[in-house]
Symmetry: none
Subunit: 203 residues, 4 copies
DNA sequence: TATGAATGAGGCTTCATTCAT
DNA sequence: TATGAATGAAGCCTCATTCAT
């Protein structure tokens, strides 16, 4: 009796979860608000009870998730560990996020991060925040002599993040096969590629 | 008399060029067909004489440009030069393309390549073709012992292309400063980062 | 304890008073039921405990006030005084009403009396009642030889009431300045204009 | 052949005329844009080809008509005739307008002039212009000694216009009977009432 | 080839009202 | 009495596309 009722927060969550599925399936622009409501099993208007607009639903999904990442980046930066490991932590976090909730990640990548011209513009500052956090990690690595100094930290951050996002995109659109093993292996490959470089070493 | 008339092909070109400016400025979804016509200084319906639909205008812009890149990748792959130089050739081509026609490149990146859910889907095979071409170059590099073998060629291609696209996106949305010097320097940085790796070397 | 509780009637009054402020500020159609509730500091649904609908709130405001006027008109008609004074009594009542509660009068004029296509229709009979009351006063004036007989009483009533309402409207929309003095002066001017006429008299 | 085609201007007119009928019948807020299109026998979107919005249709109807009235007021003011005749000219113009096109006048009065809180606000300045024109006529009458000086010209203008509008409203809502004869008689009655006054004169 | 008037489907949002607690 | 979550109908506007000339 006590637990049989859905609270307001749960209903809100219900709608957000439904939105993830619908956005992932049909795309943000292609889906209608009624699709979200139907998927959530609630009335049309209820979406507008909890969110100001269709945009705000996506906003919420993005911000909730993205803030976790920027927080992680900040956290990792403060830790006492080799820069390589820091970058691996970030890679792990992102790839694990995809493993745990590929639909949500698809939405964030496809509809926000990579849709820079429409929705991305709105969140450019938040996105930039993550890039800057990564750049700071690189910078600290350079100060500690772990990272070469002839590549600017900002450029390095872009290359690193760009590589990660491209891999995610490959998985999303099935250009590369995805699975537990692939995800795990990719963590190593990203760090090996970006930190170690593609060149074959004589040593 | 003979030269005062614009030929059909020229009119078509006029519309395509106008479309680039309008798509770059307003985005594909935000602009109307009439905006293209206005920008081109032609009548509304004429766009439909030369193109089946608004989509086809963007399709044309993308294909015309993208085919040049896949052609270049094929061409470069066949040349007898170090893999590093091959990758640099590709990087050069892309960054020079942006330098010469930033609006067109913006449209292709923002509206097609990174709009994977809408136009990207349509052109997925063509886009994949470029990735595969790059992967082949990496593979040949591995065969020749220039590229390490513990990173799969497809993964390496993604990291490489992802880094490039992320840099382009940074320029487009002014997350990184752009200019002649930056573009030139970026060619080196991409290759240094991806091939050389970010690690500081003792040697 | 006994006095700290608001009675039902008081709550109802609270809502009505809030409605006046909200209707006056935003207009009946532009405001939402929740605006009224917010203004009254009560819960959304409570408005529906005391009123069947949003319409009924306005209906109530109108009827409560308008009935006072028709009552006054009846009352005045029965008094033994010159017709001019009767008309002045009515003018006084209306202008004083505006002075005492300009927001309520604004609502009644703007949202009911002058909104003939929506609420006016509903209350047409009640509104007509007032016109007829005034017409009767004119008629009695004609019978007593105080009012010229070549203007029909109904027409005279319309001219009289129309002039009053136009002055009210002018105040409401600040086409004419309003204040204590202006309100007082207007009472005389209305009667002088309508009864005395605008013509300059030689006498 | 030459006359069988409807020109663009005629189509626009077609829509405006249909709008008058629909607005008069259902009221501006109650009718849908599709009602206008249906009444005009054109496609939904065509209304938006000729007008920016539903509002603009009403705007156009109002402005086209109202400008005629302000023009007339200006014109009449410049003529060399007794003030009484000037006011009669204005009254004639308005009542004739109603006689010729009662639906259009109903729309203007009910949906704009008297709907001061919604649409009226938009046109307040234009409406005010007419009042001021009438006030100027009264003022000139006062200067020439034809109109009493103890009633301000602005107040007199309000009383005069208010009386007219109230009569129109009475006809519109059938509070007073309307016909050729009534309209003609009303012209005299308005002037007699406002200029002559309701008082019975001993002379 | 060229024009631009004409078409009409589609979707977001608002908000009065109901109802379970 | 009191609350506010839940419902869902209704309508304006956009704009890609067609078509008659």
């Amino acid at each position: 009796m006590a637990t049989s009722k859905t609270t307001a927060a749960e209903k809100r969550r219900l709608i957000l979860d439904a939105a993830v599925r619908v956005f992932a399936r049909q795309g943000f622009h292609t889906c209608r608000v009624s699709d979200i409501a139907d998927e959530a099993g609630v009335a049309y208007g209820l979406v507008y009870h909890y969110f100001r607009s269709k945009d705000e639903v996506l906003d919420t999904l993005f911000r909730d998730r993205w803030s976790l990442m920027t927080a992680l980046i900040e956290d990792v930066d403060g830790r006492d560990m080799p820069t390589r490991d820091k970058l691996r932590q970030i890679t792990s976090f992102i790839f694990d996020s995809y493993r745990h909730d590929p639909e949500l990640m698809k939405v964030i990548i496809v509809e926000v991060t990579r849709a820079a011209n429409s929705f991305g513009q709105t969140h450019l500052q938040e996105i930039r925040g993550a890039y800057e956090g990564i750049a700071r990690i690189v910078e600290h690595g350079q100060e500690r002599g772990e990272i070469r100094g002839d590549v600017t930290s900002q450029f390095a951050a872009m290359a690193f993040y760009g590589a990660i996002e491209q891999v995610l995109t490959s998985w999303i659109f099935e250009l590369l096969p995805f699975g537990e093993a692939e995800a795990e292996q990719a963590k190593t490959l990203i760090v090996e590629t970006i930190c170690g470089g593609l060149d074959a070493r004589s040593a």
